[in-house]
């Protein structure tokens, strides 16, 4: 796909709009309307800045895209949305130019449209079920629900004043929410709305969890995250930063000594996996968590102002094929690396990263090494990384995950010279809370075990959701889990 500028896209959208008889569109006509591409920064320009890659639809583009929606009565898209947004309704409002009504429709179900519109894997959720995509036999031709969601959230931020959210009268009940990432934010909002007192505990100095430390500025501007947090605070949610539950106070202490009636654990999957290969502790080998946290939360990309340093690499390798690997690779590009190598042991079809992220990474010059894997990492006398030894792979039979198992090809070793390596092969559950909470049951991966209906853990009045339950997943799934838990918590609180 070659790059098309925002102006060009806008011109085309206006032309379409001019010829569109919006009053009398039939399903057949709607299917003919061209899909609106997301305007983005020129790849050659954005390689050198941290600003957001996707610029967002113009109002004209949004309107054209909204007219593509067939307004199916049974709304199959909604079953793909973990938080159950009324998708056809908000799209209809956009088509009719009622942007405020579109905002209101989304906000009934989701507090974070500006975030979700940017980072949800819509192609695997709402857009997967879109009738238009099915009719056109291509999921990529579904209505761009995510882009429309983002458009409307950004429109709100620019045009609408402070949002007023109704809070029911105080109940006197106290809820502790551990972790201020997507799951915690959702629970805090949903529980607070019912009039309960909510305190959100965050170990870092800024709330937002993975939205702050993990996802880069160029994909999710931090101002947007803080805007959502401010909204929570305006609702009366207390935010306690610099508080690590399990250490500052334990979960049992919060419940028994600090008067919290209920707790929700949404502490995330914060324990990076390494490969256990030779050379992994050399200088210049980082977990993606560390590399991204330095750049995102600690703002190390801003070398002039930030006190936190980040490696200045010329030839860097990222190990892994997920969204975190793409984020790391694209961060490395922006930090000035001359060569960024992404090494993944399966083929592109098996990559867990979103297609859009893979495309963006390619456009920005990331070099993909597929069906290859690092066997060991070399260093010099100062223990600084000098290169990696790789092996080539081929795909065999499907494994437990349903993806074809990569099999090493004997004697296929080769060397890539490098000065840094980022390990982005996943996260395990952080054991801090289970270790300091007796009676809290976990499975063999360290994930907290919960009731699938209510999200309640083995301890009464303690709920959990997000990555600490799911293992490393996505923002929207964590929000969906949070929503489910909040519903059960609200119900429980009426019984206490």
């Amino acid at each position: 796909m070659s790059y098309i500028s925002k102006d060009e896209l806008q011109k085309k959208a206006c032309a379409v709009l001019e010829n569109l008889d919006c009053e009398n569109l039939k399903a057949k006509d709607r299917m003919q309307i061209p899909l609106q591409e997301m305007p983005s920064q020129d790849p050659m320009v954005r390689r050198h800045n941290m600003q957001e890659v996707a610029i967002g639809y113009t109002p004209e583009q949004a309107k054209v895209e909204a007219e593509r929606c067939l307004q199916c009565k049974n709304a199959p898209c909604m079953k793909g949305c973990p938080v159950g947004i009324n998708i056809p309704k908000f799209i209809k409002e956009i088509a009719e130019g009622n942007f405020q009504q579109a905002v209101d429709t989304i906000k009934l179900a989701s507090l974070l449209p500006a975030v979700c519109g940017r980072v949800c894997p819509q192609e695997k959720q709402c857009q997967l079920y879109c009738t238009l995509g099915k009719a056109l036999k291509d999921v990529d031709k579904s209505v761009s629900i995510g882009r429309l969601e983002r458009f409307i959230a950004d429109w709100e931020a620019e045009n609408s004043g402070a949002v007023h959210i109704d809070i029911k009268p105080a109940t006197g009940k106290k809820v502790a929410v551990v972790g201020s990432g997507p799951a915690g934010i959702t629970v805090a909002a949903d529980v607070r709305r019912e009039g309960h007192e909510v305190t959100l505990f965050e170990a870092f100095h800024k709330p937002g969890g993975v939205l702050m430390y993990g996802i880069p500025e160029f994909r999710l501007p931090k101002d947007i995250v803080q805007r959502e947090i401010t909204q929570l605070k305006d609702m009366g949610v207390k935010v306690e930063t610099n508080f690590v539950v399990g250490r500052t106070l334990t979960l049992p202490q919060l419940l028994e000594e600090e008067g919290f009636n209920v707790a929700f654990i949404g502490s995330g999957a914060g324990l990076p996996t390494f490969m256990n290969i030779e050379g992994e502790n050399l200088v210049g080998v980082f977990s993606a968590n560390e590399y991204l946290t330095r750049s995102n939360l600690m703002r190390a990309f801003d070398r002039k102002n930030a006190a936190t340093p980040i490696i200045q690499s010329n030839r860097i390798a990222i190990l892994g094929g997920g969204n975190v690997a793409m984020d790391s690779a694209r961060t490395a590009v922006r930090l000035g690396a001359e060569e960024v190598h992404l090494i993944y042991r399966r083929s592109e079809a098996e990559m867990p990263a979103r297609i859009e992220e893979v495309e963006h990474a390619k456009e920005e010059g990331v070099i993909f090494h597929l069906l290859e894997n690092v066997k060991r990492i070399f260093g010099d006398e100062d223990d600084c990384v000098t290169g990696v030894e790789c092996l080539r792979y081929e795909l065999g039979e499907p494994d437990d995950s349903g993806r074809r198992r990569p099999i090493a090809i004997e004697n296929s070793e080769f060397i890539i010279e490098l000065d840094a390596v980022i390990v982005a092969i996943g996260n395990k559950s952080n054991p801090l809370i289970p270790q300091t909470t007796s009676g809290l049951e976990i499975n063999k991966w360290g994930n907290i075990i919960v009731d699938s209906e209510t999200a309640e853990t083995s301890i009464k009045n303690v709920y959990a959701g997000g990555d600490i339950v799911l293992g490393a997943a996505t923002v929207i799934l964590a929000m969906g889990e949070g929503r489910k838990a909040a519903e059960a918590i609200n119900k429980r609180l009426t019984e206490l």
Partner: protein, 292 residues
Amino acid sequence: MNKIINKKQLSDEVYQMVIEAPLIARSRKPGQFILLQIDTDFGERIPLTIANADDKNGTITIIFQSVGSTTHKLADKNVGDYIENVLGPLGQPTHLKELAWVVCVGGGIGVAPMYPIAKAYKDAGVKLTVIMGARNKDLLIMEEDMKALADELIICTDDGSYGRKCLVTEPLKECCQRDSQPGEVIAIGPPIMMKFCCLTTKEFEVPTTVSLNTIMIDGTGMCGGCRVTVGGETKFVCVDGPEFDGHKVDFDNMMKRLGAYKKQETAAHDKYHKHVCKAEEQADELAKQGDK
């Protein structure tokens, strides 16, 4: 925001601060540490050990050496000022064992984190030998505190300006050579000192615990920046430590990892000094103009 209640300069580069942190004061145990950040938007997070705590008054005592840009900024703060972010207590508490005799070796400001551990052993009725070392007399800290605690206190300086002129490993070796060996040696100080303490005790097979201070960001196991190789396995100092079996720690790799950002840190340090010097020059200039 944590208020500075008290500040004392212990030596040329070493400061002691008492800061308000009621929950940390309440929860902390010997061996644990905090992370501290000045400037929420652009500051770095650095680990510092907790030298003491007062649960009743809700304060903790930190002792630090102004060696980097953050510790310099911290040293410039005064009583009544606030530190933006303090997180803790972090790490596993010291695993206190039932022993007859323990030798504590503290080098430089390593004496500070040593103090709560030595005190815990003393309170448990264990015979306590404390070996304190520093480059010179001026850099010795907490001598009085340790004197009050130790059954036997041995002080050494590199230049002989106070106590014995030797490295801490010399009296440590003598302790190991006595008829009955210490049940445990705890060594806290610069990595190179800990490395040689461990080499000394290894020969006598005296169990040795070290407390490591590595580069960290979150301090909760999320980033893995603090990882060290212990007995061939990767461990995280922030959640598995900070204390480890010193005979198993790969100190050489740890020291190299500590130096990962040396170039950038030196630049930041120089920039800070230049900034301060420039400010002082400007102040002098203004004062001169004022005189005129």
